[in-house]
């Protein structure tokens, strides 16, 4: 748990311990990296604004040797920094001030993704993505997808619940030369939604995180 505000650190630590987690704390980039190297954590909760740098630096450094899930604490006004942190490898974010239940839910989802390897068949409500047979079923009916649409959906299916940023999706699906063409992405996403969502204007599976990216979820 990395934050330079002692009261936030104290409240979150108390709650996380109450929820059954073991918590180590750090108040700066240097402390965070040292702590993570000495006692590798199962997940990192990371404030973006730290006295000796920012959370993005921590993310980038961590990703050189660890796949540990990272949840970023961001504030309104930190959008660019938040997206930078996600691009640098953060898994998810919550916006300050957040409810403790929201943070715990994100933490559980991240830990689940980290510990369970993706099954070859991903089932979310009426949506089935068979990654082995490259088959997509909606309400039991097979759906015809273009290669790009399928690659995109497969990427989401391998990262259910995880926020994927625009550059990440473009790089993973279209290749390393892409990354800035988010307007292509909006078009492809809306085409994909028309094929898998019952109501494309009110998506239940493929959700938009404004200003950050998209997330495939289990419909509530």
């Amino acid at each position: 748990m990395v934050d330079d505000e002692p009261q936030i650190l104290r409240a979150l630590t108390t709650n996380l311990r109450g929820a059954g987690y073991e918590v180590a704390t750090a108040a700066s980039v240097a402390e965070a990296l040292a702590e993570a190297a000495m006692r590798p954590p199962d997940a990192v909760i990371l404030d973006l604004l730290l006295p000796d740098g920012n959370g993005t630096d921590v993310c980038r450094e961590l990703r050189r040797w660890s796949d540990v899930p990272v949840i970023v604490l961001s504030a309104v006004g930190d959008e660019t920094e938040k997206v930078a942190a996600l691009d640098a490898g953060a898994d998810d974010y919550v916006t300050k001030p957040f409810g403790i239940d929201e943070l715990l839910a994100r933490l559980r989802a991240s830990l689940r993704r980290a510990t369970h390897a993706t099954e070859p068949v991903v089932r979310l409500g009426d949506l089935v993505v068979d990654l082995e047979k490259r088959l997509v079923l909606v309400r039991g009916e097979p759906v015809q997808l273009t290669p790009h649409e399928y690659e995109m959906l497969a990427l989401f299916a391998r990262n259910v619940g995880k926020l994927l940023t625009h550059p990440t999706i473009l790089r993973e699906v279209w290749g390393p030369g892409y990354g800035d063409e988010s307007h292509y992405l909006h078009v492809y996403i809306s085409q994909l939604r028309r094929k898998i969502e019952a109501e494309p204007t009110r998506p239940r599976y493929l959700l938009t995180e404004p200003g950050a990216g998209y997330r495939l979820v289990e419909p509530s």
Binding site: A11, T14, N15, R17, G18, P51
Partner: protein, 463 residues
């Protein structure tokens, strides 16, 4: 005579011109009368050219012709036999007189023409010199309004009037009882030039000179307008940038206590969490501490906006420095953590007690924050002239020389990551509002903030 020759042809000049003409004829007549004893009188008649010529140069043909005719008549009357009549004994003398008249007229016309040319050239030169001077002063960066009086004075000289006034503006604004000339360029009225009535005698000068002056003024006014707009845009942009910074910082700073409160309250409210009694009291404590911090931030923001709006309205009275420092230490619940050196013989300070209290609390809080848990904070007061200087120093990391002004900006963030928040900005605002000052010293081994407060009541100022 030289000064007479330089005079223009104004109303008062008519009398002078007539007197000069009479004088010239009389003078030459006296000279001929004297020379008459040695030379044939008929040949001396040509001397009257010396009367006609100066008059032609000084006053023009209108005076020179009567002088020529008068000279001829006077010569005939005084010197040609039979004298004291206009009759001539010898017929050929008529021919001489007529020839003399023709010579006088031609010479005087030539002289007058040369004189007109010279005067015209001089006038053009004066106009050009004025326009060049105006151009260099206006385009060299001088403010148009500052230069206006000088330009008007020089324009008066060029136009041949005693005074001139220039009023800028689209509307033609003529002073009452003055002659007004619009300064126009491309159908746009730049301003008005007024002169005492009836205005410049030479219409050609007005037609030639005023448009040139108008276009120069127009260029200068446009340039000033542009400069003003650029400056205004720059000021707006800067104040916008500051506001954006403050807003960002405020939203960030407000969110920290809010986040802690939300997390603590959420934890207390969550039945799924296993919290023991000490966990619960820690969460409650977080809520109490962070609520107080939020309250302080909101109060700081209000103070800052009041200071910026100039609505702080100090109620200044005499207070002892002991009392003000004591109250600040009291509020911070300081029990010996600060070394206090306030001599007993300090003069009282003339301040608003509430403002002085805020200044000292903010300075001491700031010092303790930077000194760290084991640091030392000193507060030392000394008299200096009609002020009392209070120095608050800590042994923290100190302030770099380059940042001694920047630390007073709201939410200034140092390269090392230190955040000043609003405390110092507010402290300085209140200090200045009370006739004092607040500055930072770049000293090795810690920061020193120097507060100066007025110690004697300000001299009563007239209402």
């Amino acid at each position: 005579m030289a000064s007479l020759l330089r005079r223009g042809t104004g109303g008062g000049d008519v009398v002078v011109g007539v007197l000069a003409s009479i004088g010239a004829v009389a003078l030459v007549s006296v000279v001929i009368g004297v020379l008459d004893q040695w030379a044939p009188v008929l040949g001396l008649g040509s001397l009257y050219v010396f009367a006609v010529l100066p008059i032609a140069i000084g006053w023009g043909l209108a005076y020179a012709l009567p002088v020529a005719v008068a000279s001829m008549l006077v010569f005939n009357w005084l010197f040609l036999p039979p004298t004291h009549t206009f009759h001539l004994r010898e017929g050929e003398n008529w021919l001489v007189l007529v020839l003399y008249l023709v010579v006088a007229v031609v010479t005087s016309e030539l002289a007058a023409r040369a004189r007109r040319r010279a005067r015209y050239a001089e006038q053009r030169e004066r106009e050009a010199a004025l326009l060049a001077a105006v151009a260099s002063s206006l385009l060299g960066g001088g403010a148009v309004t500052d230069e206006l009086d000088g330009i008007a004075t020089r324009a008066a000289a060029v136009l041949g009037v005693a005074h001139a006034w220039i009023a800028l503006g689209d509307e033609v604004t003529t002073l009452p009882g003055a002659a007004g000339f619009p300064l126009r360029v491309d159908g746009r009225n730049v301003g008005t030039l007024s002169t005492p009535p009836p205005g410049p005698a030479d219409g050609a000068v007005v037609r030639r000179f005023l448009p040139a002056l108008a276009s120069l003024l127009a260029v200068a006014i446009d340039r000033e307008q542009l400069e003003r707009e650029v400056l205004e845009a720059e000021a707006l942009r800067r104040s916008d940038a500051i506001k954006t910074n403050v807003l960002r910082a405020v939203s960030h700073d407000l969110r920290s206590p809010l986040t802690a409160i939300a997390a603590a309250a959420g934890g207390l409210d969550s039945p799924g969490l296993q919290l023991d009694e000490s966990d619960r009291s820690a969460l409650v404590d977080t809520i109490v501490v962070e609520t107080a911090r939020l309250d302080r931030m909101v109060r700081d923001l209000l103070d800052l906006s009041r200071l910026e709006a100039g609505a702080a309205d100090p109620l200044r009275e005499l207070w002892s420095v002991d009392e003000i420092v004591g109250a600040a230490l009291d509020q911070l619940q300081d029990e010996g953590g600060t070394v206090v050196d306030v001599p007993a013989d300090l003069p009282p300070v003339m301040v608003d007690a509430g403002h002085a209290h805020r200044i000292l609390v903010n300075l001491l809080e700031n010092a303790h924050r930077h000194a760290g848990a084991d640091g030392h904070v000193r507060i030392v007061a000394t008299p200096r002239g009609e002020t009392v200087v209070i120095r608050v120093s800590d042994d923290g990391p100190g302030i770099p020389e380059a940042d001694v002004e920047a630390v007073f900006q709201p939410f200034w963030r140092s390269a090392a990551g230190g955040l000043t928040g609003l405390g110092l900005a507010i402290a300085r605002g209140f200090a200045e509002e009370n006739g004092g000052s607040l500055s930072a010293d770049a000293t090795e081994g810690g920061a020193t903030l120097v507060l100066t407060l007025p110690a004697t009541p300000p001299a009563a100022s007239p209402p």
